[in-house]
């Protein structure tokens, strides 16, 4: 807990705040200013929009601790403000609100539009309002209210942007421009991988995402099969994956840590593996859950071997489905890219094992961008039940 001092609606106030408390909660619970509404709490709906140092911001994604010494103006702090008075009247007259939940945020954004864009037309107003959701009015009344205020000589705004804090500190510009020129290119994971060809693999999980990878392994079929049919060796080739213990009969349990940028998840689960020895192919079906992010992952991994001369072609086909907040934030194209890179790493590691190169070290231990995909795969494998 730290003391956070604000100039709040014209008064200097100080209350302790936990580091994790966002500004909206701090205002509502410590200062009892409940006019700032919380809708989505993830920066999407705009209901919590208020003025920080004279600029509209989203209070749900600003830490209270980061506002120490700042000037905050909430919807409660505009009582005597002539421009806000005009907006309130116009909202009332044009039916710019019904339930009122979005209204504090709408008024803040409307105030900013009138102040910053005196020539805004209806289309521009709508664009500027795109970050504030209203489920009652259909926006028509809100847009009309703002247009009305703009076209009737609005009073000057009293809340205006304050100078930025600690800006352009003199003498801070000596940073050396001519440091080492673009040093060694950072290891791009894709660059470390052998080229893979895609092949059309089987598709099972309806509405899942399907990814295919294949690689030519310079080892005889029997050798590669020995690696692939052994769950612990497969798991060891999946970045971030680990088994919870030795296989219990045919069942495997384990976990897979995945990170996607700052997001991380550890999927715990089980899986089952079915082998078709004669065909030299098999399938792993698994599912897992990350309790903290309340996200689930399920998937099917098919693998098949085919001889090509003295070498062996290893084909992997992954179908996965990620659900929950992680999927919501990951966005499909992004998760797919990460999963594909994990699959590529896995296939490369398997090939490395089969040829005796690099062995278990074939898989980089830490892959900054791939953790999400990793987690997914690890989750998959951790849930692996082997039903030989």
């Amino acid at each position: 807990m730290r003391e956070v001092e604000l100039r709040l609606n014209g008064q200097t106030v100080a209350r302790p705040a936990e580091a994790r408390t966002h500004l909206a909660d701090f205002l509502r619970e410590e200062h009892l200013l409940t006019g700032t509404h919380l809708g989505c709490e993830q920066g999407v709906c705009g209901a919590c929009t208020l003025f920080l140092d004279g600029r509209p911001v989203r209070a749900c994604i600003i830490l209270a601790a980061a506002c120490d010494g700042a000037e905050v103006r909430t919807v409660e702090g505009f009582g005597d403000d002539p421009l806000m008075g005009r907006l309130r009247e116009a909202f009332k007259r044009h039916h710019g609100l019904q339930c009122g939940y979005c209204t504090p945020g709408m008024l803040a954004t409307a105030y900013d539009i009138v102040r910053r864009l005196p020539d805004a037309d209806a289309a521009r107003i709508r664009r500027e309002l795109s970050g504030n959701l209203c489920r009652c009015t259909g926006y028509a009344g809100i847009v009309a209210a703002i247009e009305d205020v703009l076209s009737h000589d609005p009073p000057a705004a009293q809340v205006v942007p304050l100078p930025r804090r600690r800006r352009f500190r003199p003498g801070a510009a000596e940073r050396s421009a001519a440091a080492a020129p673009a040093a060694a290119r950072p290891a791009a994971v894709s660059g470390d991988l052998p080229a893979f060809e895609s092949y059309a693999g089987p598709r099972e999980l309806a509405d899942g995402v399907a990814l295919n990878r294949s690689v030519l392994v310079q080892a005889p079929l029997a050798t590669v099969w020995k690696v692939v049919r052994n769950p612990p060796s497969v798991v060891a080739c999946i970045p971030g994956a680990s088994l919870a213990g030795p296989p219990q009969g045919e069942a495997l349990a384990g976990q897979c840590a995945v990170s996607l940028g700052p997001m991380s998840a550890a999927f715990r689960g089980t899986a089952a593996m079915r082998l078709e020895e004669a065909e030299r192919r098999g399938r792993v079906v698994g599912a897992g859950r990350d309790g903290l992010s309340r996200s689930t992952l399920e998937g099917t991994l098919d693998f098949a071997l085919e001889p090509e001369g003295d070498a062996t072609r290893l084909k992997l086909s992954l179908v996965y489905r990620l659900k929950g907040p992680l999927a919501q934030f990951g966005r499909p194209a992004l998760v797919e890219e990460v999963a594909d890179r994990i699959l590529a790493q896995t296939v490369a590691a398997l090939a490395g094992r089969a040829t005796g190169r690099a062995g278990a070290q074939a898989v980089p231990q830490k892959l900054a961008g791939f953790s999400l995909a990793w987690s997914v795969l690890r989750g998959l494998l951790r849930r692996v039940f082997w039903r030989g």
């Binding site: 580091a19 994790r20 966002h22 709490e41 993830q42 920066g43 999407v44 705009g46 929009t49 509209p56 911001v57 989203r58 994604i61 600003i62 830490l63 601790a65 120490d68 954004t109 664009r127 500027e128 795109s130 970050g131 930025r164 804090r165 352009f168 500190r169 510009a173 940073r175 050396s176 421009a177 440091a179 673009a182 040093a183 290119r185 950072p186 791009a188 994971v189 894709s190 895609s198 996607l260 940028g261 700052p262 997001m263 991380s264 998840a265 903290l292 992010s293 934030f329 966005r331 194209a333 992004l334 797919e336 890219e337 990460v338 890179r341 892959l367 900054a368 961008g369 791939f370 999400l372």
Partner: protein
């Protein structure tokens, strides 16, 4: 919907930030991308060091060749022309279309690039403008071209303890042209497809960049053929991105065609 507990560290200067990173803290810019992930507990850092007011990251430097914008300069400052725009308005226009004004007032240039969301505006715009990332870390400073700095989805070449301090944007030569186009389902959302075209013959910089691919931006190897209309955007992308679905290719090819048209080259598809 409340973040897991963490420590918040406010530091006075870059040295303090570097020390905090060495102690295991994670860097935080304007918190506009990280914030939602914290609230949903998708990100659970033990400690965050706030870089948004670090003085060294709030500086602007200019030379005849470039402008360096500190990493903690906000999108809104660029949009409003509070900091110099070496491109004569291209940066301002791109900034004005990032998310929403309330986000632009907090979100930072460096935070966006270090976060490396494949669909983010600065990720493609700075790559497309041939900008350079300036990094400072325990073993000194270095310069990395944006196309090398960005290594994958949410992945950069930042080493342990390193901080992105500024972005150096080269001044375009006379007669340089630029096109940037992105497709969103609705205003303010992340792009589904985007492309940037820079034609700067005086300085010898030709670049066609495709973004929002789920990976780092794609810098097309042979922009000249595209600019001379010897290959279509669709053909260029099909060659550079094998394995993409036709629908995916069509979307990104359209973005590229429109960026080319914005730069005054060819017709929009």
């Amino acid at each position: 919907m409340k973040p897991a507990p963490f420590d918040y560290l406010a530091v006075d200067d870059l040295a303090g930030a570097t020390a905090a990173l060495a102690d295991g803290a994670k860097p935080m810019g304007g918190n506009q991308s990280l914030g939602p992930m914290l609230n949903l507990r998708l990100a659970r850092p033990a400690a965050l060091v706030d870089l948004s007011l670090v003085p060294e990251l709030r500086t602007v430097e200019e030379s005849a060749e470039w402008v360096r914008l500190g990493a903690a300069i906000t999108h809104a400052e660029i949009e409003d022309g509070e900091v110099p725009d070496p491109t004569g308005g291209w940066l301002r226009a791109a900034a004005a279309n990032i998310a929403y004004r309330a986000v632009r007032n907090r979100g930072t240039l460096g935070g966006s690039l270090a976060h490396a969301d494949p669909a983010a505006d600065w990720v493609i715009v700075m790559t497309g403008l041939c900008a350079t990332a300036l990094l400072a870390g325990p073993s000194g400073t270095r310069r990395v071209p944006l196309e090398d700095f960005l290594t994958g989805p949410f992945a950069t070449g930042l080493r342990d303890g390193e901080i992105l301090t500024a972005v150096e944007i080269p001044r375009p030569g006379a007669g340089a042209r630029w096109g940037y186009w992105k497709y969103m389902r609705q205003v303010g959302e992340f792009a589904k497809a985007s492309a940037a075209v820079l034609v700067d013959r005086e300085r010898g910089r030709l670049r066609c960049t495709v973004g929002a691919l789920g990976r780092q931006p794609l810098v097309l190897a042979e922009p000249e053929a595209l600019l001379a209309a010897e290959v279509t955007p669709r053909e260029a992308l099909a060659q550079a991105l094998p394995g993409r679905s036709p629908a995916d290719l069509a979307l990104h090819a359209t973005a590229l065609a429109r960026a080319l048209a914005e730069a005054g080259i060819g017709d929009a598809a």
